[in-house]
Symmetry: D2
Subunit: 363 residues, 4 copies
């Protein structure tokens, strides 16, 4: 089979590197194009990595000598069927325009940026939760006058740990009107150089700019429905979030309390629903789909970032400590790998889904 040529926008950053690492030997996709800021343009990828190779393992030989393009030079991505977008610019509007330019050039854009997350007809996908949101793409293309190009986004990494467990219960017929969550987030979420070590040695920082707002708002779009070509946010849920930065390299942990609606599940039922939960990625047996999206731990002190972030290729969500809550109904702890499941791995899974839905084709 001929692989789909893909590009990485923002290839030198931490998430860009994760994309490159994870896409080595991918069965559907092949990285053929790398783009970054003007300061990297024209250099080989190896020399453009001014902070070095920051992720696991060694820089794959297959990309080390690719010449990096300027991300603003959309024409240079010709030949790519899709790009994974993980670049940064001072203004969100700049990112949005550039992502639009790639789409206008016929390229599918799978973005990690928050720029397009509130665009009403851009689907924000968690592959196990709302794969059907990809159906909006023809309408998105029509509105923009795009041919084969389109834009898909993934949500913020802070909510990846607890949203699938919550959805599994909703899908099983239980309403969940209230979720209160406190996150303890890893420093890799801020990229490199990111969080100064002086802030993380013997310390916790109880603030991450913009994170609580995203965590409270984005799930409503994910749980929403498309109506007349735009997503209408779900109205039946309120989320309250505290987001903290802790001295952990990878893996966001969340302490979650939630209330059921009238119909309430008991403890064993909840665990069973979580363990049995499978989504479209599992049905389609997508390469990056974890076999079991939600892993429940019976040990009283799990999940922990160090032990559980890498579960099932770092794509599974680990949960534990389900117990009654004295104010809401239940509380539990959830954990997922923020730069894999919550960033590059999640983006790849979305692209795999789009590929199998026929949205990505070699011309």
């Amino acid at each position: 089979m001929q692989k789909i040529p893909v590009g990485i926008l923002g290839a030198t950053g931490m998430v860009g590197q994760q994309y490159i690492r994870l896409l080595a030997n991918h069965p559907y996709f092949e990285v053929t194009h790398l783009a970054a800021s003007p300061s990297s343009a024209g250099k080989t990828y190896r020399t453009a990595l001014k902070n070095g190779w920051l992720v696991e393992g060694e820089l794959p030989e297959s990309v080390s000598e690719l010449v990096v393009a300027d991300v603003a030079n959309v024409a240079s991505a010709q030949g790519c069927v899709l790009v994974f977008s993980a670049f940064e610019m001072p203004e969100k509007e700049q990112i949005k325009s550039l992502e639009n330019a790639y789409a206008a050039a016929g390229i599918a854009v799978f973005s990690n940026s928050s720029a397009h997350r509130s665009t009403p007809d851009v689907p924000m996908i968690v592959a196990e939760i709302n794969p059907q949101h990809l159906d909006i793409i023809p309408s998105q293309q029509k509105r923009n006058g795009w041919d084969t190009g389109f834009v898909v986004v993934k949500p913020n990494c802070s909510l990846q740990s607890y949203l699938t467990p919550m959805y599994a219960l909703m899908q099983a017929g239980y309403e969940i009107p209230k979720i209160m969550v406190t996150t303890m987030q890893a420093v890799s979420g801020a990229g490199y150089p990111g969080v100064p070590s002086l802030d993380m040695i013997d310390n916790v920082v109880p603030f991450i700019g913009g994170e609580e707002e995203k965590t409270e708002r984005e799930p409503l779009k994910i749980f929403g429905e498309a109506k007349e070509g735009v997503f209408v946010p779900f109205a039946g849920l309120k989320i309250s979030a505290h987001c903290n930065r802790v001295p952990v390299s990878d893996g966001h942990t969340a302490c979650v309390s939630f209330a059921f609606g009238e119909k309430k599940a008991n403890l064993d039922t909840i665990k069973k629903i979580w363990r049995d939960f499978r989504g479209v990625p599992q049905e389609l047996d997508l390469p990056f789909a974890p076999m079991q999206p939600i892993i429940y731990h019976e040990e009283q002190n799990r999940p922990q970032p160090k032990h559980d972030r890498d579960a099932d290729k770092a794509m599974a969500v680990s949960v534990g400590r389900l117990r009654p809550d004295s104010i809401f109904d239940f509380k539990f702890v959830a954990l997922s790998h923020n730069t894999v499941r919550g960033a590059a791995g999640g983006g790849i899974l979305n692209a795999e889904l789009a590929y199998r839905k026929g949205l990505l084709t070699l011309t």
Copy 2:
């Protein structure tokens, strides 16, 4: 003035050492007696410190050559008007009996242990919140047939950060029926050797045995009222807690969401109430009383353990990030030093209060 002679039970442990450090040059009290487990008994304090001096500064000369007694040898404490109890034993009943034996011997016991916290006529004191609970002591003495001895306890360190801010609002006339709290607790809370470093390098442990139960239950006694010689827990409040261990040496941080009753304060009112709050320790100008019990920070990323745990002799509570909560009414971050305010410093403040109330006298 002649100082009150005091003993430290559990003198070699981490909290015992904090008592010794903090009592050096105390205006009311003088450490004259040290007791620990049989393995330390008979040694000088310096040689009994098998793990060394674990707290700030150097071991005070004044105690380094005191010979350590066996904590089970109550008679050896003769001459002490009060003891600070911070010893450990396998069974809580053992601790309780031994604390009772000291009280029976005419000695006031200020305990950090959880053994007596649920004894109905043992007051659990946060000096700024329920100093009037000390009034139960004559009744406690009568019931036990004790003369000058009695037992007073302090609550768990996990709740010291947020309970005073909550109380300040209650005192100002606002009901607070619901509090949801997630703590990020320092390793010193588990003593020495305590938490293994393999669990704290690049990790968070979302479980501390017994901690959530204490955090949810103890405030109800503190806010309760004495009726017919026993404390009746406050019925108007529900607390739900998640307790986590994080790689921080000292300083417990709490993310708190709370609901008001019918009467609701606005953001500026709450801040003003917190800043203006003063308790009996401040009125009496007790040596260990922080001048301002609640320090509000306007910076959006404070309080932080590293910057704020030592505020006002490590006795003040630091709060910040007060903002509306989408489910309850408000949320904020609170922090206090767990081995000072939450342990030895809090115990000393309680003893100062008892002293000024006339409960401790030289014979």
Copy 3:
């Protein structure tokens, strides 16, 4: 092929767990017997793990239901051709006697303990350096009156990082009379619970009991020669060591300065010798042999524990920063994984070597 049945002595500890993890699916060996302290004896392995599964991945199903034997019950190991010994006892003489008892029972003992390291006819093996030292075994067996049993040890983990690079130069014909080394050692070297987190948050401990002595003495035996049935330590080398504990989970780093004898290699020659170095494990293509035992990094800030400890199944030594030394001739940085290369993985490699040399056979 029928696999060799092996036992793990000290199976519940950290190194014991690493053995179990690494031996899952081993081509020569199969774990059929687990032994630990009396408190674990009689329990299934899963329930005997009172501190849980501490190493990577999940507890292998194949061993989780094995019933753990008392390590003092040598007869229970009947059926094992070899045991990997990683148990602890208060006295070294106790460990020595027990290891002897296993050998006397016809079982080959590959030990991680330091108990037998100074026994004159017990070979201390680094498989790439002194594989020929295994030739002493018939003599060892004869002296002890053992039949098929024998004892082999591996050296301390602190020297695994720099000793192979030093040996590679010696093998290439360069004398190295002086090595000065400062180590920065990971906490996993002290097992679990091991180093308290209070000592490792915002701190370095410049002392590890007994470590400097081992680091200075053990290489002399490894570089020594067997004469009349005992190893005579190498006399042509002096080592001086400073050993420190740093807040790193796995991976010992060493800063090394060394002097050549009269014949001196230049910088490029040294790098070439290191990169080209191969030993007997590589010639025999042993399962646990790293393809390239010494990996040289040209980046100026490598090797680093986080990036390099897992190189080539965590069995390769990573080195870098080779540069002239103003007092000796050269200095460099070396790193190896202490619980894999420096403990369980090194032990397995030694057993593989013995197997291929015909010292281990199914009866």
Copy 4:
């Protein structure tokens, strides 16, 4: 007494903040002028602190409303008798010119920068070691045509821990021709934001740009002698250094091996020399002089950053673990606070010395 008005150049950085913190209530000096980069110029100091107050305690009220000047605007410092220079610029030549401009304007410059360290007639002072080097100032002023202004520098923070102990022995009549040192340096040495937390969680970085060269070269100037108006480096000492960054906030630790010349001291003599050592700052009883410049610890696991960095106002050097070295004569561990003794506190001590030598006078 009227205090000497002083300015801080680079006031918003980490070292600048330490100067401000340490100079609050100084008996000789009063901070009256703050300067920083153009982006801070014109703002009050409080608002110019874009990263907040990074050092201990709270921002002193006395400076919080001072308006920050552009550091390039030398005229704005008029009225200052001296400035502490801790600003950064892309090119060392720029720093040098600007420091010269302040000196030309009649202001004494005490610099933390490395820009002027190799200028032959600029003294590099450790107040306990070479206070007599200040005698070169008239000659420096004459060469430059400066009136009351001059430039004094302090050495790199990496050598502050072990240089005074080495000097104490030299002063007592022992030659020390060889020192081999491996440092484990705190992240505060790189300022803020400085070292990324991704490099310091579960890691060590065995490289600090330029640090080893400074550590090997600067002591030779400090031990040198002024001849014909320039300092001739000391020729009787060779230093070899490995410099590492470790996950510690403050406090550089050094593992040191050294050789004596022909005359050798024994272990007890060395300890006595260290404990008895006093320098000119102690004789003059300077405000920032530690009472005992070298504190020797008998505990086998000291000094440690967490316990010892703050010894005697963070101005004392802590040493321990003196023991014979198998290659050189002795080895030991040394520690000092890098941003106090090794930066701002050391600079202040130098200025106090100059003041008492009559080099700083109110006009």
